[in-house]
């Protein structure tokens, strides 16, 4: 389950920012994840809730926004919704983005 390593990296940074802000509790964590990243959101949530037990991020909600890659034919400019290498026109299709995993915002409770 490679989601575990993602969850750990995420938790480390969340707890670092929480400490920096003297947070008492983490309520919500906002993420942006590229659609081409091979990650199962349910597994991520499960792993995160397991490893955050006993920390102030326990019970925090993960809010995920998915980001689409740009898939476009380099010859005719046609855009696609799915990964494909060659366009009907014979042109090579370029694929950009869709691979990010960003922590954007944390909602936390402070004194």
């Amino acid at each position: 389950m490679h989601e575990l390593s993602y969850a750990q990296a995420l938790l480390d940074e969340v707890l670092r920012l929480a400490e920096e802000n003297d947070a008492k509790k983490i309520i919500r964590i906002h993420l942006k994840i590229g659609e081409l990243l091979l990650i199962n959101p349910e597994q991520l949530k499960f792993c995160f809730s397991a490893i955050s037990k006993g920390t102030i991020a326990e019970d925090a909600e993960l809010v995920i926004e998915f980001i689409k890659p740009k898939i476009i034919c380099t010859e005719c400019g046609r855009e696609f919704d799915e990964v494909i290498g060659i366009c009907d026109c014979g042109g090579i299709v370029s694929i950009e983005g869709g691979k990010d995993f960003l922590l954007k915002k944390i909602e936390m409770e402070v004194e």
Partner: protein, 219 residues
């Protein structure tokens, strides 16, 4: 008590990216070409590495990192060919990452080619850059001829795609040309090789690609 919102701009993948970059810098400084050998369980990854070592013994200095949940068996198979090798146990993890490779990479500064056999799995290793120069993805016809289509991401990002065990295609009713076409339409730039390691099909083509990669080193 009150609530605040803290903006962050943190790349959750940044640690792996940084260590992959360090691996890549080490390799390039020492003129080593690293090849991430990925693919399904039992597709022939270890045998490919073994046969390549035997074929190029007098020509090229080869090293190998063998990653697996339990890496000892593959390590012993490769080490008995007399090359420098290192097992990497991933334990519960389903993939190698740049950190694991980082721990052993310094032992391989003196080789020409470093093979890194990844955990047999067409999904989990895909998003973990190890710092390699090339990705080779190996599947065999016995996994079914829809295996390429079902795992677009790993094939899209490959430099070489090997369809192995093609001599068994008829017995398992797999259509090799369909697999090749699926691979081509996902990744028109990849080198695609139809292979059978037991019948010596496609192996010369693979060696040719590898020699070519070695010649273009540092360019």
């Amino acid at each position: 008590m009150h609530r605040i919102e803290v903006d962050a701009e943190y790349d959750v993948l940044s640690l792996n990216k940084r260590l992959a970059k360090e691996n890549r810098e080490f390799l390039s400084k020492h003129g080593v070409i690293a090849i991430n050998v990925m693919g399904a369980i039992g597709s022939g990854k270890t045998l490919l590495i073994e046969k390549t070592i035997e074929a190029l013994k007098d020509e090229v200095k080869i090293g190998a990192i063998l990653g697996d949940v339990i890496a000892k068996d593959d390590y012993e198979r490769v080490a008995r060919h007399g090359v420098k090798a290192e097992p990497l146990n991933t334990g519960k993890e389903c993939h190698l990452d740049a950190h694991l490779v980082h721990h052993v990479i310094e032992k391989f500064g003196d080789v020409d080619v470093l093979f890194i056999e990844n955990v047999g799995n067409l999904i989990c290793p895909v998003d973990f850059d190890l710092g390699e120069n090339y990705r080779v993805v190996m599947v065999s016809v016995t996994e079914g001829d829809d295996v390429v289509k079902k795992h677009p991401e790993i094939f899209r990002l490959a430099d070489v795609i090997i369809i192995n065990k093609i001599a068994l295609a008829e017995a398992v009713e797999a259509n090799v040309d369909k697999m090749v076409n699926d691979a081509k339409s996902l990744n028109p730039k990849a080198k695609i090789i139809k292979m059978d390691l037991k019948k010596n099909i496609g192996f010369e083509e693979w060696l040719e690609w590898l020699r070519c990669a070695l010649r273009s080193r540092g360019e």
